[in-house]
């Protein structure tokens, strides 16, 4: 069983390096509700939260607004990036899904994105951005499993948006709910396979 800590939980009696923690009076405390990993670096990996942009990430965006000079895109983050029309050739309208890459992020988490492609004929699903590694799995094991059982093509954005094309998207939807709920349990991929087999029989 993984150890779950909450903000203010005492992790160590001496100051330690790592992420998701803070030091006070030579002691180390947790900063998030998350899973504790103790190794060379002490880490508290948050279980929930919005997408923190990183340079080079491939993300899926939803065009929410158009004005004279560009588009406002929702990427499930703290801010909505703006894409200038003169930097792109295709036209979009609100509601369109786009695949984009984060070009740069500044110190206040504003990002510049580059639109790579328009995503058409598919469905958008969302999970918490902090659960994307669970949705992909080790060496893409989880996403391969989902593609096998749902017969859909699945594109996972680092921001927690998923684009699902063809096949049985309902299976993906149910599976994502299960992943979100049980993401902190061990051997999730094996359990998921059992779950998918079960609903296939039904």
């Amino acid at each position: 069983m993984k150890t779950i800590v909450v903000p203010g939980d005492l992790i160590s009696d001496k100051p330690e390096n790592g992420s998701g923690i803070y030091q006070k009076d030579n002691k180390t405390y947790s900063k998030y509700v998350g899973v504790l990993y103790k190794g060379e670096d002490t880490q508290v990996v948050p279980l929930h939260g919005k997408y923190t942009p990183r340079e080079g990430d491939m993300i899926i965006g939803l065009v929410v607004q158009e004005d004279m000079f560009g588009y406002i895109v929702d990427v499930k983050s703290y801010h909505m990036p703006y894409v200038h029309k003169r930097s792109i050739k295709t036209e979009f309208k609100p509601g369109d899904l786009i695949l984009c890459q984060v070009i740069s992020v500044n110190e206040i988490k504003y990002m510049i994105i580059d639109i790579q492609a328009k995503l058409e004929d598919g469905i958008l699903f969302g999970v918490s951005a902090k659960k994307v590694p669970r949705v992909i799995g080790k060496h893409r094991s989880m996403i391969n499993l989902l593609e096998k059982y749902s017969e859909s093509k699945i594109l996972v954005g680092a921001n927690g948006y998923l684009f699902v094309k063809g096949g049985k998207p309902n299976i993906v939807k149910d599976a994502l709910e299960v992943i979100s709920k049980y993401s902190q349990t061990e051997n999730l991929t094996e359990k998921m396979e059992g779950y998918l087999k079960k609903i296939k029989v039904e």
């Binding site: 779950i4 909450v6 803070y22 998030y32 279980l47 703290y78 909505m80 206040i108 918490s128 709920k181």
Partner: protein, 247 residues
């Protein structure tokens, strides 16, 4: 002391209070995390008869933009009482009391959340009181603090608190409406970060001696530690689900 006919009794012969509690006993508390699906974080708290539900949205873009703080996130705390939460219907328009409580509670939470990580954003916290019987601002604060932690925001510590006070000449913990209306009543809501007992909210209504005040602080400190344990177990409960039990 001779008893007058219509004198209100706050302690019976056994030292029990009006609702059967002992002097420093608090009302039963239930906490639940993750109750509103479409919010970023949410929590529901029942404290005796008080019922509060809190939802957190954000950090998100601050609108109107000129209110944004370029150095840190802004907490916008909305404490609202439902019209049916009090015996007589309450006008749903936020009144003087609600605006004040929103201000002080938002400031209390800003000492816990690491706001510097999210410049130019707003964190909206909506708390609605469904039922009230004294001590709703602390109930709301517990719910809000749980909802913030549930939203995955970086925090120093959970905020916990309690209203201590005085009725019938004795200091008491967690008073109810009946005790709050006593002629010599003192209401002292205190919220703190239980790890190092940092006080983040303290209001007082009534008159206390200095000695009584410090006694009240000690009662609050002790109770905040216990309430934090309840908050921690509520947060952990959300993630202690077993895969085979559901679905």
């Amino acid at each position: 002391m001779s008893k007058k006919k219509d004198e209100v009794v706050y302690f019976d012969e056994k030292g029990k209070r009006f609702d059967g509690r002992s002097q420093f006993e608090i009302r039963p508390i239930t906490l639940k995390v993750g109750v509103i699906e479409r919010s970023d974080g949410s929590a529901y708290v029942e404290w005796g008869q008080n019922k509060a539900i809190a939802a957190v949205y954000g950090p998100r873009e601050m609108l109107p933009k000129h209110l944004a703080d370029a150095n840190k996130a802004t907490i916008r705390y909305y404490y609202r009482m439902a019209p049916f939460s009090v015996p007589d219907r309450k006008n749903p328009k936020p009144g003087r009391r609600e605006i004040e409580i929103s201000k002080v509670s938002g400031e209390a939470l800003s000492h816990s959340v690491d706001l510097e990580q999210y410049p130019n954003t707003a964190i909206d916290i909506f708390v609605t009181i469904f039922d009230s019987n004294a001590g709703t601002r602390i109930t709301a604060l517990l719910a809000a603090s749980l909802a913030l932690a549930d939203a995955g925001l970086p925090m120093k510590d959970l905020v916990s608190g309690i209203a201590v006070g005085k009725a019938g000449g004795k200091l008491i913990a967690d008073m109810n409406k009946h005790e709050e209306d006593a002629s010599d009543a003192v209401d002292l809501p205190i919220a703190m970060l239980p790890n190092n007992n940092d006080i983040v909210l303290l209001q007082m209504d009534g008159v206390l001696t200095e000695k009584e005040f410090y006694e009240c602080l000690d009662i609050a400190k002790k109770n905040c530690q216990e309430i934090r344990e309840l908050q921690v177990s509520a947060l952990k409960e959300k993630y202690s689900v077993d895969f085979n039990s559901g679905d």
